[in-house]
Subunit: 197 residues, 2 copies
């Protein structure tokens, strides 16, 4: 028996490195050679852990989605209704450096998913789950009379999604205009608004 290696751990590390490279210079910067070097390997070494670049990219994509999912789940915790919705919204916004650079990865994946059906389907699935969760919390908040606006649930959910996607973009391309303070204010105003008739 040869050297024993935790393959899953190695894969995690390689995905970490790929993530970092995309953060720094987009997908363009994430070449197999560059990833291998940054991970401390030589040219062809990644092949043992990811059969092809597509698979590696897909794994990195998956990481982005599961990271967001975990971040939201952890924030929501045992809360429910309006407070859960609030925590979800603030948690998904690019309000610190880590989440802003994560938006860089998201941007790359948005573009890639437009020419890769597998990735696109996966993202639609994620979107469906995310929106479904928000619907759930809004429903409960309405039942508890925490939300009183006449605006339909579907519109509320969509508004959050658009604000969030827009904030991710603008934090990258125009952070001087769309400041964190403003982005927080959007959510503040939004929540102040929906608790009223």
């Amino acid at each position: 028996m040869p050297k024993v290696i935790d393959h899953d751990e190695r894969r995690e590390h390689i995905v970490d490195v790929t993530w970092g490279l995309i953060m720094g210079g987009g997908l363009e910067a994430a070449t197999m050679r560059e990833i291998a070097t940054a991970a401390g390997f030589a040219n062809g070494a990644l092949k043992r852990y990811f059969p092809s670049k597509d698979v590696l990219v897909e794994a990195t994509f998956e990481r982005a989605l599961s990271m967001m999912h975990k971040h939201i789940s952890a924030a929501v915790a045992d809360q429910s209704g309006l407070e859960a919705l609030r925590v979800m919204c603030y948690g998904a916004m690019p309000l610190d450096t880590k989440r802003i650079t994560a938006g860089r990865v998201l941007l790359a994946f948005w573009e890639m998913s437009l020419s890769n059906k597998r990735l696109h389907d996966r993202y639609v699935e994620h979107l469906k789950a995310w929106r479904g969760l928000m619907h759930e919390h809004i429903k409960r908040a309405r039942a508890a009379d925490e939300i009183k606006t006449a605006i339909p649930d579907e519109q509320l959910v969509d508004e959050i999604v658009l604000i969030n996607a827009g904030a991710n973009i603008m934090s990258l391309v125009g952070p001087k205009f769309s400041t964190r303070k403003l982005q927080k204010q959007h959510l503040d105003t939004f929540f102040a608004r929906i608790v009223q008739p």
Copy 2:
């Protein structure tokens, strides 16, 4: 004297073709060979009109911005204040196929501008002009007592920008969820809101 050619017209045509290719498959699909073929030329023919790919891409980028600028200017026309703002907002939203696919190009440029200082500066300039124009109209609308909300102008402008950017993204990656109807409703609700105290 040889064949006489309108160079500007040729450049427009080449930019058209580049635009179309980016629409279809992102920047990845817009190779010099592909552009030349789609424009009806052979491999190296573009060199007479664009010295390098960077220049061609920059010209296409410029087209995207000026297209939006023209679209807005034409819509606003001689109007002013609230009505001008309203027309601007609806005009910039991806509410038809043409504007949705234009969002595809915008997405490509957002990503590219993150690793190209020239393009980034140009986009920031555009953003500044766009936001400035909205500020102008909001100011006049307030003077005419058309807008009564206590929300600061800067926040109103930023909200429009985020909704717009988000709508552009979601029209591409999740049109099943973020429908045109919903996107229109966001603006309807927004304008119904700001005319009240």
